[in-house]
């Protein structure tokens, strides 16, 4: 059970919902549009005041609930996130970009100028920051919903929870619990497949192991993760190369403090951390 830092004050009429985009692929916003069966009910329960992906008539703030997708990667975004925070009673960051910096946080491990020079014909037109950072690095965030992309049922749960002033049921335990409850056979133990499940936050419903694939860690670290023990077993018992271990720590949640520290230790320390 996660206790939200704040709850919505009592509202007159419908809550005003805003959906914001920062540096991201739009996939998490699309999860909201993907709520086909529940979308009409949502539209009936809240006033969708700002949602550029779905509507062309943005209404000015303030907003009761802001959902923020994407990471902060430009000077303009640094400024914009503060304006949004000031206009929002509750701010929820959604998806790995917003909660951990996303896949684009791979720049944090390299020199972004090298990337720009390699990709763009006119690097001088590009105005970007050295790092990709989560929303919580810049403004207070009331709740973080993990996932790449987020799970639409969890999104509805979080919206419902804030609308009705109760804690969201978004457990922070491992993917393994979801896997076992679903009746999956463990791909790690039965097939020898390296899997991030034991250190990864639940939420997806254990999709990859259900199709005999190891977990990719899309939902970031679970509560109380032990990446050292996991990586040691991958290398020593499952025969995973060090580069494979580092690549698995460095994907959608590469800049999450837990995964980043683990991948840097692995890089520096050779085998054991």
């Amino acid at each position: 059970m996660v206790q939200p830092a704040r709850t919505l004050d009592s509202m007159n009429g419908k809550a005003r919902l805003a959906v914001w985009k920062f540096t991201s692929c739009d996939g998490c916003q699309l999860s909201l549009l993907d709520c086909e069966d529940e979308l009409l009910q949502l539209a009936g329960c809240v006033d969708i005041a700002y949602f550029m992906e779905a509507a062309s008539d943005p209404a000015p703030g303030p907003y009761d609930l802001s959902l923020v997708e994407g990471s902060v990667t430009t000077p303009d975004e640094l400024k914009r996130i503060r304006e949004i925070r000031a206009q929002s009673q509750i701010l929820v960051s959604i998806g790995a970009c917003a909660t951990a910096g996303g896949i684009q946080a791979l720049r944090n491990f390299a020199d972004v100028d090298d990337f720009i020079a390699a990709v763009y014909a006119h690097p001088e037109y590009i105005d970007t920051l050295k790092t990709s950072t989560p929303i919580s690095a810049h403004v207070p965030v009331d709740f973080e919903l993990n996932g790449c992309p987020i799970n639409k049922r969890q999104l509805l749960e979080v919206i419902s929870a804030f609308l009705h002033r109760r804690p969201p049921q978004v457990p922070a335990h491992s993917v393994c619990i979801e896997c076992k409850m679903r009746g999956n056979v463990c791909v790690w133990v039965a097939h020898g497949t390296p899997c991030m499940g034991p250190v990864t936050h639940a939420g997806c419903g254990a999709i990859c192991p259900a199709y005999s694939r190891g977990c990719y860690g899309c939902f970031g670290p679970k509560e109380n993760p032990n990446t050292t023990s996991l990586c040691d077993w991958w290398q020593q018992e499952l025969g995973a190369e060090k580069t494979v271990v580092i690549e698995n720590l460095r994907n959608f949640n590469a800049a999450d403090p837990v995964f980043e520290a683990a991948s840097r230790r692995r890089e520096d320390g050779g085998g054991q951390e």
Binding site: A161, Q169, G183, V185, A190, P198, S229, D232
Partner: protein, 373 residues
């Protein structure tokens, strides 16, 4: 108890008699490289000619050359998934102009039959019975599923390296009541089952089978087969005297073994999910978007999560050291005081299905050695 013999080719007759009685028959089937428990339509669904080889953090299916139907030891799943559902709706409520209505949940309870229940698993079901049907609190969902349950037990003729029922005095020979108990007998001349009834329902099924009184030689072969599983475990590294384990753990709350465990344990909860006696659950209360409909769900939980011990101010057991110690001390020590038996039946699932191969029998040994220092 009179014992009979049933030819292996007539095993399907048994299966069809049980199904014809209206039971939902579940038993061992191969799925995704493991033997799991699922619906059985006929004898051809069974994992004939397969065995499981298990080590710490490892499980592999291998071929047997004798065509045994029950020649495996323990799969990843226990029977608890059918009796204590992983997730179920407990109640729901609706708000309308007349107030709040509580809506009762009508949960269908199938008449289940378990085929291939091992001795340690019968002990595990008996332990869960004490938890869910005990004197003080009854879990109605469990009670409704447990009451019509038909149990067809099978004696083990093979033990995996992770098995240690002989150390926990729970097997491998079936001693607890079951409706039918079978032993698979295979030699160069024959492939059959020694079978006996342990209840009127079992007797009724037995009467419909093409059986004949068991020959002395068949009884001897069956004894020898079970004895081979005993010998396998006796020669293994998990054979130990468990009689003083409760006191050992009570004396060692501060053993350094717990610190070492915390370095390895992932607190992923796989051991508790795989364990046939771990019974903890939590409830989740939710509303829909309108706020007019609320639901309470019960789902499996684990003492390895932070949320499990979360109270006002934080989690009581915030670190892995305290979580592992809680699990093992409850399972092997405080369980005795709470329910009158150990909570461990020696099935070895927690050893095989721990991703990093933590072995509680090895940890017990370590605690014992550290105490001597």
């Amino acid at each position: 108890m009179q014992r009979f013999q049933l030819k292996a080719e007539d095993l399907d007759v048994l299966i069809q008699v049980i199904r014809a009685q209206g039971h939902q028959l579940v038993g061992p089937v191969i799925r995704d490289g493991a033997i799991v428990y699922d619906d059985i339509q006929s004898a051809s669904d069974l994992p004939r000619g397969w065995k499981d080889e298990q080590e710490k953090g490892q499980y592999r299916l291998k071929r047997r050359d004798d065509g045994a139907y029950f020649g495996y030891a323990m799969g990843p799943q226990s029977w608890k998934k059918f009796l204590q559902l992983p997730r179920r709706k407990v109640w729901q409520a609706r708000k309308d102009s007349s107030g709040i209505q509580i809506v009762a949940i009508e949960e269908p309870a199938p008449s289940l039959a378990f085929l291939g229940v091992r001795s340690c698993e019968l002990h595990a079901i008996a332990i869960q019975d004490r938890v869910f049907l005990g004197d003080h609190y009854t879990n109605d969902s469990y009670a409704k599923r447990r009451e019509p349950l038909l149990l067809i037990a099978v004696n083990c003729i093979y033990a995996a390296n992770t098995c240690f029922c002989t150390s926990m005095n729970t097997g491998p020979e079936v001693t607890l009541p079951a409706d039918l108990t079978m032993t698979e007998v295979i030699d160069v001349e024959r492939h059959l089952f020694l079978i006996s009834a342990g209840s009127e329902r079992g007797q009724g099924i037995l009467q419909q089978l093409p059986v004949q009184p068991a020959e002395v030689e068949v009884k001897k072969l069956a004894e020898r087969a079970v004895q081979s599983a005993v010998s396998q475990m006796a020669q293994g590294v998990r054979s130990f005297d468990s009689s003083d384990v409760k006191e050992l753990l009570y004396r060692n709350y501060e053993s350094q073994a717990w610190d070492k465990l915390a370095d390895r344990c992932l607190s992923c909860a796989n051991c508790t999910m795989a364990c046939p006696t771990c019974f903890c659950s939590t409830v989740e209360d939710t509303t829909d978007l309108s706020g007019d409909n609320a639901e309470r769900w019960e789902r499996w939980d684990s003492c390895f999560t932070g949320e499990f011990s979360y109270i006002s101010g934080g989690a009581v057991r915030a670190d892995t050291r305290s979580r592992y110690r809680q699990w093992m001390t409850h399972k092997l020590a405080t369980w005795h005081d709470q329910f009158g038996t150990s909570g461990c039946v020696g099935c070895g699932r927690c050893i095989a299905w721990c991703p990093v191969g933590i072995d509680l029998t090895e940890e017990l040994q370590r605690i014992r050695e550290l105490e001597k220092e």
